[in-house]
């Protein structure tokens, strides 16, 4: 473990400086890259592989198993997550749907490495506010509702200020809602033209911002959706599995639904990183969607 950790620190030190950050206001184009594009891609790939590897390696270490094999498998899964994000940030129709599923397979590989089961034995595939838990060895497919995602979807349907966008939702593989000529003001923390929250996306339907801006915002938010999926599959779902059985009725709930607190994990980190440009998940989304 100690040698592995030293290697990880060395690898992190070799990572190039993050290549992109958002420039100025939310309407502005991203800053010009201060390094070749491949440097940013390599940074993003490396970060995703590192997170996947560390997640699996540490969990296996905590369970008394070997760190290194789990780290390697987790890193491969993390690379798959990067591939999914890369696809989701592309502009073709269905990019989000395909990218989300590719990334979900990558996240499942990390989760399986964490649990020391074969790499593709269990797959957790998000379909809107529902997740399909596929166990390939038994052929079982079990759907579970993401309670928070469902709550946000219901909110989106009921909210008069936004409309459900069928085509963008199909393309994104997640519910997409569009405002009617307004921008989103969240926590009175400034205006934004896009928001991803618990598996749904809200974008500003302001024609004046232009089609290119909207495509970029959608791509940005699709990457956030995958980040949430990954946090759920590898971090918060194991936590729910651990906590829910200890609560009254928790087993029954767990059979049909997940709480889906993944987005809340990032929300908890916001006070620690108050500056938007410094948040790693925003840097990644901005870079990939540029």
């Amino acid at each position: 473990m100690r040698r592995g950790a030293a290697c990880i620190v060395a690898l992190a030190a070799l990572l190039p400086t993050p290549a992109a950050a958002q420039c100025g206001g939310f309407l502005e184009d991203p800053c010009p890259l201060d390094a070749p594009r491949w440097v940013g891609e390599f940074t993003t790939l490396s970060a995703n592989a590192l997170i996947g590897g560390l997640t699996a390696g540490i969990l296996q270490e905590l369970r008394g198993a070997s760190f290194a094999p789990a780290f390697v498998r987790g890193a491969l899964g993390g690379a798959g997550v990067y591939a999914g994000k890369r696809i989701a940030a592309e502009r073709f129709s269905g990019a989000g749907l395909i990218g989300r599923q590719v990334a979900a397979v990558g996240s499942s590989v990390v989760r399986n490495a964490s649990d020391d089961v074969p790499a593709l034995d269990r797959l957790i595939l998000p379909v809107g506010p529902v997740r399909l838990y596929v166990t390939r060895s038994t052929g079982a497919v079990r759907p579970r509702i993401d309670a928070l995602a469902l709550g946000w979807t219901i909110y989106g349907v009921l909210e008069d200020e936004i409309d459900f966008d069928w085509s963008e939702s199909l393309s994104a593989g997640a519910p997409v809602f569009v405002t009617r000529g307004k921008v989103i003001d969240r926590h009175h923390d400034g205006q934004t033209t896009g928001l991803a929250e618990s598996g749904i996306v809200i974008v500003a339907g302001v024609p004046a911002f232009g089609a290119a801006h909207r495509r970029r915002v959608l791509a940005h938010e699709r990457v956030h959706i995958i980040q949430g999926d990954h946090i759920f599959t590898t971090w918060t779902d194991p936590l729910e599995d651990l906590v829910l059985p200890r609560l009254p009725g928790g087993n029954t709930f767990d059979r049909f639904a997940d709480i889906g607190i993944s987005t809340s994990v990032l929300s908890l980190l916001v006070p620690l990183i108050p500056k938007y440009d410094d948040r790693p998940w925003e840097m990644e989304s901005t870079f990939l969607a540029r």
Binding site: A147, L148, L150, I162, V183, I184, Q191, G249, T252, F253
Partner: protein
């Protein structure tokens, strides 16, 4: 589903999600000026070497429906010469830069500048201003004790009348200089007392700049233009030591 245990928990989760939505507002975008005017700004500089430089910018703005306005003629027309946009940003704002050299007589005017055409707003604002010419030769031999007299003439009329006009004259020899000026167009003769000239002898460079500016389109119009134009004339003055009035005459070079 029927044992009634997971349903309350699901409802709680949904309630939490709905409570969280109270933190989201949908507001009119403050960075947009929906229905505001198209805004054009331009400055044009000419000199008697025939050098012309035009800097301009256009924000076509957003119509009442929230759509960016189309620019149906993208060029600025300066001195009958179209200048295409140098850059168009993601929001449709344009910047222009035109630089060229033409006949020295360009300073005689007329100085014409017309904004691009933007769909759905008033006709493009424009100016047609008179020029300024030098009536002296470019080289003036000036006896040491003589006052300096520089003669110019404003040619043509200004349409529309500029809101602001001013002139300034810079006389310079090395680090020594004299600057004088006033509002309005330059007088036909600018007289500078001999004692004010920056050097008792030798070559003095003189530069007269006539600047005008105007805003076309007041409140209530849908296309606002702000224009500035300057014309610069130059002389070379050779101060010759000797008695006043004994100069052999001004040079013939113009």
């Amino acid at each position: 589903m029927g044992n009634g245990v997971h349903i309350p928990r699901a409802l709680i989760a949904v309630a939490l999600a709905l409570l969280a939505t109270g933190c989201i507002d949908f507001v009119e975008p403050t960075e947009l000026n929906i229905g505001g005017p198209a805004v054009f700004q331009a400055s044009m500089r000419l000199d008697d070497n025939g050098a012309v430089r035009v800097d301009a910018s256009l924000d076509p703005g957003i119509d009442a429906d929230g759509l960016r306005r189309n620019v149906t003629r993208d060029s600025v027309v300066a001195l009958a010469r179209p200048i295409p946009p140098d850059e168009i940003d993601a929001q449709g704002a344009r910047t222009y830069l035109g630089e060229w050299v033409t006949s020295p007589g360009v300073v005689a005017g007329p100085l014409t500048l017309e904004a691009p055409i933007v769909a759905g707003v008033d006709p493009p604002p424009s100016i047609r201003w008179g020029g300024l010419v030098r009536l002296d030769p470019v080289l003036i031999n000036l006896p040491g004790g003589d006052d300096l007299a520089l003669r110019t003439m404003v040619v043509g009329r200004d349409q529309p009348d500029p809101l602001n006009a001013s002139w300034n004259l810079l006389l310079r020899r090395g680090d020594a200089f004299l600057r004088i000026g006033a509002n309005g167009p330059p007088p036909p003769v600018i007289e500078v007392p001999a004692a004010w000239l920056p050097a008792p002898s030798g070559v003095i460079e003189a530069e007269l700049t006539y600047v005008r500016s105007h805003s076309v389109g007041q409140s209530g119009t849908s296309y606002v233009g702000t224009f500035a134009a300057s014309v610069t004339l130059r002389w070379t003055i050779v101060r010759i030591l000797g008695e006043p009035g004994t100069a052999p005459g001004n040079g013939a070079e113009r």
